[in-house]
Symmetry: C2
Subunit: 228 residues, 2 copies
């Protein structure tokens, strides 16, 4: 008797709430997961430490960390120390925490690894409901990336499929949290705050903290986030 | 009297023959150029040294070098020391010198810098005639990247244009060389060889050397390449 190998998927894993839920979903759908964290000049290392904990907790086959120098270009409060992270922001403009081309660069790195692994599936935890105004979290952007990726690769030339999975794209933060709890996610392992301290404690005030806190309240789930 | 600022363009610059010609074309078209070299785990530093010489020679406003760990994933003779660079290759298969998702990653980095600069134009010296079988050098791939990039960015959301320029895509190597000579390119500054030594001397046998040498012959231009 032979057992078929499970299909492989590359999962982008920041160590935050969304990407952790995304990893749990990929595993639940039967994929052997390869977790990829991309360090692009973030201010805090706490999120990457969280990614290591989460990858181990969810049995990722491998977890790799790729450094990409997006901070080289500046332009974002998340990579440029000269720009302050806003607190209690109002309005619908694209915020200064937007990192130029971040998801494009991260998906490109995932595509490179997928091609080497022979994987046809990439998971990314983008969300268009609570998306904080980032253009590269919209469904039309993801669809365009998928089209481009099929043309970019050996696999595409040879006619193999390639899919960018965004299982969270239409879910509210509360729905994401409820789904993750069903799949056994311990959100105490995750870090969402844009300016977490080295111990992983959250500020409670930035966009990411506000969305996350409101999500736990709306889900009726006790918020396990350590606040400082 | 006011003088309009010239438009800015990000130009991907490896230091090879094609990207150097591409930089010369961007300058000739009136752009203020920002040259971007992406080090993705290549075996040789000679090409990057050539990029510095070329950026200086062509008056690039800035030249930046971004390290991206594509070698982390392996899978190519250009980034994985365990895979030999083939010499005197036959056939039309995609060669082992293909770097997974290379152009996608490089264009993504260029897109990030363009967004920070407020530039609407990116130049890349891909070529579909002598393209060595790389899927990410085809016009349909470039068109798909452009569509994706317009959806990925603040500029796209705000309705500003974004163009990926590929002025070499339909030219033969001989045509590229003749065009470059007209624009004042000194090809003695450039390095194309996949396994150049530290002094920038070429092997004369790899795919890149064979294409380059044949191009000078067909163009009727004396080949200034230093061979070892």
């Amino acid at each position: 008797m032979t057992t078929a190998n499970p299909p492989r998927a590359v999962v982008l894993l920041s160590g935050g709430l969304d990407s952790t839920t995304c990893l749990a979903i990929a595993r639940d759908r039967g994929f052997e997961t390869y977790a990829l964290s991309v360090a692009y000049g973030q201010r805090h290392a706490a999120e990457l430490a969280a990614a290591r904990r989460v990858a181990a907790a969810f049995g990722a086959r491998e977890h790799r960390l790729a450094h990409v120098e997006l901070g080289l270009f500046g332009g974002s409060a998340l990579t440029d120390p000269a720009i302050a992270v806003p607190e209690d922001r109002e309005g619908d403009d694209i915020p200064v925490t937007y990192v130029p081309a971040r998801n494009t660069v991260m998906l490109s790195m995932a595509l490179a690894w997928a091609e080497v692994l022979g994987a046809s599936d990439i998971f990314i935890g983008v969300n268009a409901v609570d998306y904080s105004g980032y253009p590269d979290c919209r469904p039309e952007y993801i669809a365009a990336f998928e089209t481009m990726a099929r043309l970019a690769t050996k696999a595409g030339v040879e006619g193999r499929p390639l899919a960018i999975h965004t299982p969270l794209i239409a879910l509210s933060k509360a729905e994401i949290i409820r789904l993750g709890v069903e799949l056994g996610v311990d959100y105490g392992l995750t870090v969402s705050c844009y300016q977490a301290d080295d111990a992983g404690r959250a500020c409670g005030h930035c966009d990411a903290c506000r969305l996350r806190r409101a999500g736990f309240e709306a889900a009726g789930v006790i918020d396990p986030t350590p606040y400082r």
